[in-house]
Symmetry: C2
Subunit: 133 residues, 2 copies
DNA sequence: GTTCATGCAAATCGTTTGCACAATG
DNA sequence: CATTGTGCAAACGATTTGCATGAAC
């Protein structure tokens, strides 16, 4: 496993403020929402720089990025519900035999006041081929 | 709940072939990969139409789309692992108190020969506000 | 002959990047 | 002064869409 070298970053008010904004909200904002908040303090702010700072904060482990975007959509003809395993090295996607548990939905429904209709479970790691090396 | 009116579609060899290709593979291909396969039979094929047919097949319930793309990235400052609930109506994302189960990784590891490092679990439905209406 | 299917090219949209200049250490 | 931060605009890449033509019913 290649150990990633942490880059050195200077102090940046804008980046610090970005982190504070993120820490002060329960919602999971988009880059654009954060941009709008920051805009009040930084009139000449650019969206590109918001992305740059968010990526740095992720790299530093200060925040999490929930990827709902930016890679490929994948398609499959196995239409009965099932879980997936995704190889982080070769990007292979495998169907899993683990039977989907409807009971999980009920558990979440009981601990919240949400109506839970379904869920999606994905495992990440190394597939048989990539793990053998 | 608004019931979606199913549109009527004619028979299309290209769309039928798209489904067959998808049904004959274990991998979870991207639109581009499917395009490359189809290209052998349809020399003048356009990628745009592959997307159109894939969307129709999804709408008809013949295939599943695994969205790893095409919406927003969301960010959050809660860096300890946790699961999410996503409201399908208002798109709110909520952190869940359900404790992440490392045991799930082991279960998958035992039933496959993959190295399982982590997983991601998301629930979908209606949040408290949207469910009340 | 009305509606759907298709190819083509342009548009869309979230995100990234190259460049020039300002700020940091 | 060497390096990082920033704004700006252009680039990128996956997906969608408008338009004109061809096929299905």
């Amino acid at each position: 496993m290649s150990e990633k070298v942490l880059k050195k970053y200077r102090k940046s008010n804008q980046r610090q403020r970005t982190l504070e904004i993120l820490q002060s909200t329960e919602m999971h904002p988009t880059a654009t929402w954060i941009y709008d908040q920051l805009k009040e303090d930084y009139a000449s702010l650019s969206l590109g720089n918001v992305y740059r700072n968010l990526n740095i904060l992720v790299e530093q482990g200060s925040i999490l990025e929930l990827k709902f975007g930016s890679t490929f959509d994948r398609y499959c003809a196995n239409i009965k519900p099932h879980y997936h395993f995704i190889c982080e090295k070769c990007s292979a996607i495998k169907d899993l035999d683990l039977p989907p548990s409807h009971e999980l939905n009920e558990r979440v429904e009981k601990m919240t006041n949400y109506k839970v209709l379904n869920h999606r479970l994905e495992f990440f790691g190394l597939c048989d081929k990539c793990n053998g090396e």
